[in-house]
């Protein structure tokens, strides 16, 4: 038999061993040699806090009472972990991106960093966890009693509450020492996690050893065990009486929402890839933990006396077969399960309590620059230590009031159901952007209330807050409000009944109110960041103010993170901004980043509030959104300017193309003209040569013939001369070398001369010229001969090219203060638009017909003359007919006057 003091000594030795392990791990981590501390194996083993003393001892008792149903508690987590890719991976990514410190922090952060939600979830966690801690204390005390009761010396059994008290006190010390050593920005506790991993190994080895001993030491192997199952009272399986599927669902929800599970899964996760290993290794751990539960239960049922508590078969079986060593190992396994659960739960819940209840209160009470006075760091740590002690004290108090009663045994699933109330808000928050703060708050409060009313309070069987009469008859005798058959719904099972009501109403309210309410800007920003966490693991957080002084932020950060770490962070940020010195600019990016770092220590809501006090910004306001909109407007303006530029460029390009087309056309025309002019020169030349040869060689020419040939030669030479004159004239005019003979004259006289000069031209259709003599009587001072030349050209063109049946030319003269305009309008078909641009070019000829004798230089000469006279000539596209407008300045006229 095991002496009681040996038991105590082993316990204390074990605890000292854990201290050493945790201490060594912390030292390794401090030295930066993380190595295996961050291995997926340690991560997976730390997840085993799921298996508490309730599952270590209780699973066997559960199996002895209801057969296979105990498995549901492990099957739910298996489903969740096997499906890590779509849920846990996202949770862990969000946890890392947003520096989440607890499940309450996650919910609060998602719904616009609302402290209200954080407080609700924290309260839920405290109410749900406290009985659970009491349950662990009870199991440790019970296991102590097993040994002391069996002691032959009749050992004085210490008071059971005293045992529980010392266990609670020891755990408090351990948790405070290793759980609040540092306020790390990423809130990881290497020492604790390593100790938990060691404990995980101890409980697995303990349970497997007992299992192997039972199967092969007591029973005759696997086949015998199966036969014993058939012979046992639990041989039949009814499918759990409607509890099977709900229990799987409940345990799946619990593995996500239990504060201690969230702590080890999300907060303590150092590498997302560890999840991949945990996805199969953790289910395997659970598999091994439950493999021998049923064998131990049936062997216990068949070999131990009927009065034995099946919850303690793991201990009493080895003792019954005088295996004290094995019993001691099993005891340590149970002790490990209890302590690891209590430690992690205390850390998780105390983080919530200090971040979401104590710190906001403290900030509120010390208004006016709370973050500037006092050391926030010590305040946070002290708050957390007091919270840990407080939670364990609560657990102990709870135990000493209710301990030993049957009520406590059921508390495991009741606690699961309570924390499962967070599930709708959690899943809705990370997969649905439409989830709002109001919906989440309504769902949580209603679910919490219904859970308390239908499950939690009735679980005391009328001993506490809810009298037995209310339980049986309903409050004030209203039967419809009976807690275990609300509105007449009686499922026969209080747990399933409570789940349907609390989770059902919770989800309905959450979804319904989310659908009809409108989220604040902050909620929408956070919602987008959570739901689309894989798209932007960093993003807008909302500090647009930028009025914060970097010194103030630095002082505050030092008080939260500690001087060394804060300075390192600030220097790094300054370097990233490319600045010398230790203080970065308080840009919105930097403030955002700092807030996330701080929220790793004090939670999102508190960090937001503290940074807010310094920067003076009130999260995301309408003004900020307007500023964002303003920025967008600027970008739009800039892009429209770019557009204008590009339009301009394309216009220039079009002009260039046009010019190029024109050049090409002129070049073609020039080529055509050159061949034309050679032809024009060649024709008179060849006739001159032919006739002069005749004159030279023929002796029998009569005088009449001689006369005719000589005049032909003369005419042809004249034509040549005219052509060459034109070319010469144009070249002189273009080079500006012309000398003008300016003299006073009268426009009407010049026109008369021009009309007379062109009258001699022979045409098929006579051209009628309409003039307005009164308007033409304008005194003019210019080179009259040159002007007449222009007129002759224009009238001659009309004679030659006007294709109307009855050609008609109107000459209209208009006089303004400083200009004289002369329009020549004919009634022909005009000039095609394509050619309007080249008519003033040299060598331009519109068509080959009726072009005989013209070299296409006329209009080019006109343009050059007008330019030299200080005026201009333009073609007016008047719609019908051809209209040329000459413009002359009247300056010369005034000189003359």
């Amino acid at each position: 038999m095991v002496p009681f003091d040996l038991l105590v000594a082993v316990c204390i030795g074990y605890v000292i061993f854990l201290f050493l392990v945790a201490f060594a791990a912390e030292r390794r981590a401090d030295a930066g040699r993380l190595g295996w501390l961050r291995s997926p194996l340690v991560y997976t083993l730390s997840l085993s806090v799921y298996c508490t003393a309730w599952t270590f001892y209780g699973a066997v008792g559960y199996a002895a009472r209801s057969g296979l149903e105990f498995m549901t508690i492990y099957l739910g987590p298996t489903i969740v972990f096997v499906g890590w890719w779509w849920l846990l991976r996202k949770l862990v990514r969000i946890g890392r991106a947003q520096r989440i410190t607890s499940i309450a922090d996650l919910i609060s952060s998602r719904y616009g960093k609302s402290n209200l939600l954080a407080v609700i979830v924290t309260l839920l966690a405290v109410v749900g966890t406290t009985p659970y801690i009491a349950l662990q204390l009870q199991s440790v005390t019970l296991s102590f009693n097993v040994f002391s009761a069996a002691a032959v010396e009749g050992w004085q059994v210490p008071d059971r509450t005293a045992t529980a008290f010392w266990v609670a006190a020891g755990l408090t010390v351990f948790t405070i020492v290793f759980g609040t050593r540092n306020l790390d920005a990423n809130e990881r506790h290497h020492g604790v996690v390593t100790a938990i991993a060691v404990e995980a190994v101890v409980k697995l080895v303990a349970l497997l050893s007992v299992g192997i001993f039972v199967v092969w030491g007591v029973a005759g192997g696997a086949g015998d065990i199966l036969d014993r199952i058939d012979a046992s009272p639990i041989a039949e399986w009814q499918g759990g009486g409607g509890r099977w599927a709900p229990l799987i669902f409940l345990s799946a929800a619990a593995v996500l929402t239990l504060p201690r599970m969230f702590q080890v899964t999300v907060v303590e996760n150092s590498d997302e890839r560890h999840l991949a290993t945990a996805s199969w290794a953790f289910p395997l751990y659970l598999f091994l933990m439950s493999l021998f539960v049923l064998p131990i239960a049936v062997v216990g049922l068949s070999t131990l006396p009927a009065g034995e508590n099946p919850d303690l078969y793991v201990l009493t079986l080895p003792l019954a077969f005088d295996r004290e060593g094995l019993a001691m190992l099993a005891f340590l396994g149970g002790f490990s399960s209890a302590t690891s659960m209590v430690i992690v739960a205390a850390i998780a819940v105390s983080t919530m309590v200090s971040n979401h209840i104590v710190m906001p209160l403290w900030l509120r009470l010390r208004t006016g620059g709370a973050s500037f006075s006092g050391d926030v760091r010590t305040v946070v740590l002290r708050a957390r230590r007091f919270s840990i002690a407080g939670i364990l004290l609560l657990g102990y108090t709870y135990y000493s009031f209710t301990g030993g009663t049957e009520a406590l045994a059921a508390i495991g699933l009741i606690s699961f159901a309570g924390l499962a109330q967070v599930l709708p808000s959690l899943l809705g928050g990370i997969f649905w952007r439409g989830a709002t703060l109001k919906g989440a708050a309504a769902g949580l409060v209603a679910g919490f209330g219904l859970w308390a009313y239908t499950l939690f309070l009735p679980s005391f069987e009328g001993t506490w807050l809810m009298p037995a009469a209310v339980l049986a008859e309903g409050p004030f005798g209203i039967g419809l409000l009976r807690p275990r058959a609300l509105l007449g719904l009686d499922t026969g099972d209080p747990l399933v009944h409570a789940m349907i009501w609390s989770l059902g109403v919770n989800t309905l309210l959450f979804v319904g109110i989310s659908l009809v309410s409108f989220p604040s800007p902050m909620e929408r920003l956070q919602g987008a960041q959570f739901v689309n966490v894989f798209q932007h693991s960093s993003g807008p957080g909302g500090w647009v103010g930028g009025s914060a002084a970097a010194e103030d932020l630095s002082v505050m950060a030092q008080r939260i993170l500690g001087p060394r770490q804060a300075q390192a962070l600030f220097q790094e940020a300054a370097r990233a901004q490319g600045k010398e010195g230790n203080l970065p600019d308080p840009t919105p990016d930097f403030i955002d980043w700092l807030e996330r770092e701080l929220s790793g220590s004090v939670g999102a809501a508190a960090a937001h509030a503290m940074v807010g006090q310094i920067t003076g910004g009130a999260a995301v306001s309408v003004e900020d959104l307007l500023a964002v909109a303003d920025e967008t407007a600027q970008i739009m303006e800039y892009s429209s300017r770019l557009e204008a530029k590009s339009r301009e460029l394309s216009e220039t390009a079009a002009q260039l193309r046009e010019a190029n087309d024109k050049l090409t056309e002129i070049s073609i025309q020039k080529d055509a003209f050159l061949s034309q002019i050679s032809h024009e020169l060649r024709t008179p030349m060849s006739s001159i040569r032919a006739f002069s040869e005749i004159l030279r060689d023929s002796r029998e020419l009569g005088p009449a013939q001689f006369q005719r040939y000589a005049s032909i030669i003369h005419d042809e030479s004249l034509r040549l001369t005219r052509l060459l004159d034109d070319l010469l004239d144009l070249s002189v005019l273009e080079n500006g070398q012309v000398t003008l003979h300016e003299e006073p004259g009268n426009l009407a006289e010049i026109l008369d001369g021009a009309v007379t000069a062109t009258a001699s031209m022979a045409t098929e259709r006579p051209l009628a010229i309409r003039r307005e003599r009164s308007a033409e009587n304008v005194a003019i001072y210019t080179d009259c001969d040159r002007l007449r030349q222009v007129f002759i050209n224009l009238i001659g063109n009309a004679r030659k090219y006007c294709d109307a049946a009855a050609p008609e030319l109107r000459i209209v003269v208009r006089t303004t203060a400083d200009r004289i305009e002369v329009d020549f309008e004919d009634n022909g078909s005009g000039i095609p638009e394509k050619q309007q641009s080249i008519i003033f070019e040299k060598f331009a000829r519109l068509s080959d017909q009726s072009a005989a004798g013209s070299a296409g230089l006329g209009l080019a000469i006109c343009r050059e003359i007008m330019r030299n006279l200080g005026g201009s000539i333009a073609y007016l596209d008047a719609g019908s007919g051809t209209t040329f407008r000459l413009t002359l300045p009247r300056r010369h006229v005034r000189h003359a006057a």
Binding site: T78, I79, F81, G83, W237, G239, I248, A276, F287, L294
Partner: protein, 86 residues
């Protein structure tokens, strides 16, 4: 030229496989849930319709172990995968 084409085909195949792996990772928990609840169908409908703990226990532990194997295989291959969806 040929080598480049074959290489492109190879990459395409790989990303295709990766997509299917992710599909499998999404289906696995659904399958787990179905397998864990399926034996309930047809159970407890009549007074004599009860299953034996022995058979059900063997079934559940068997399915459980197979799921762990499947998850381990998937996890090995999904480990280095950068997600393409979401």
């Amino acid at each position: 030229m040929r080598a480049a084409q074959r290489r492109a085909l190879f990459l395409e195949r790989r990303s295709y496989r990766r997509r299917r792996l992710q599909d499998a990772a999404l289906i696995l928990p659904v399958m787990a849930a179905v397998l864990f609840v399926m034996p309930l169908v047809g159970l407890g409908t009549g007074p004599g319709e009860t299953g034996s703990t022995r058979a059900a226990g063997l079934y559940f532990f068997g399915v459980w172990f197979l799921l762990i194997l499947a998850a381990a295989l998937l996890a090995r291959r999904l480990r280095g995968v950068r997600p393409t969806e979401d």
